[in-house]
């Protein structure tokens, strides 16, 4: 239960952030519908955001591990 809640909160937060960042980047002037160019941009932006999330995640976890190793537990 706790574990499921955590995964869910994590996914929800990722979606919220992508929504905000990609809306800002891809829909600067909201019109009467999402244009196909905007949708293409949104797809790419989602992929880029997840890549960025992975880079950040890897960097941070490596750093945590290194610091744990250096300072003992």
């Amino acid at each position: 239960q706790v574990r499921g809640d955590l995964a869910l909160a994590n996914a929800q937060e990722l979606i919220n952030k992508m929504n905000e960042k990609c809306f800002t980047k891809c829909v600067p002037k909201p019109g009467y519908r999402l244009e196909s160019g905007e949708k293409t941009c949104l797809s790419k932006c989602m992929d880029r955001y997840m890549e960025a999330w992975n880079v950040v995640s890897r960097t941070y976890v490596n750093r945590l591990q290194e610091e744990t190793r250096q300072h003992g537990n």
Binding site: M18, N19, K39
Partner: protein, 82 residues
């Protein structure tokens, strides 16, 4: 000191709370959208929102929700392909 509720009362209460929760969530969203779309759509402060500012606000909310749906649907697709 703690009042005992019958089962019917408990159901009533939990439905009431669920409803209030949904309302609170909707109001939070309205504040968030107003914040975001105000910055995007409202320029100099005039005596009334002009036609284009109103249209921009309404489009801003609609496209933001479209974006949200687009993202969730695309994530579903990706998940199903795995």
């Amino acid at each position: 000191m703690v009042k005992e509720f019958s089962e019917a009362e408990q159901r009533e209460l939990s439905k009431f709370l669920e409803n209030e929760n949904a309302k609170a969530q909707i109001q939070r969203s309205i504040h968030t959208f107003t914040d975001l779309c105000w910055d995007k759509c409202v320029g100099k402060i005039g005596n009334k929102l002009d036609r284009s500012e109103e249209q921009c606000l309404s489009n801003c909310v609609e496209r933001f929700l479209d974006t949200s749906l687009f993202i969730v649907n695309r994530l579903e697709e990706v998940k199903n392909k795995l």
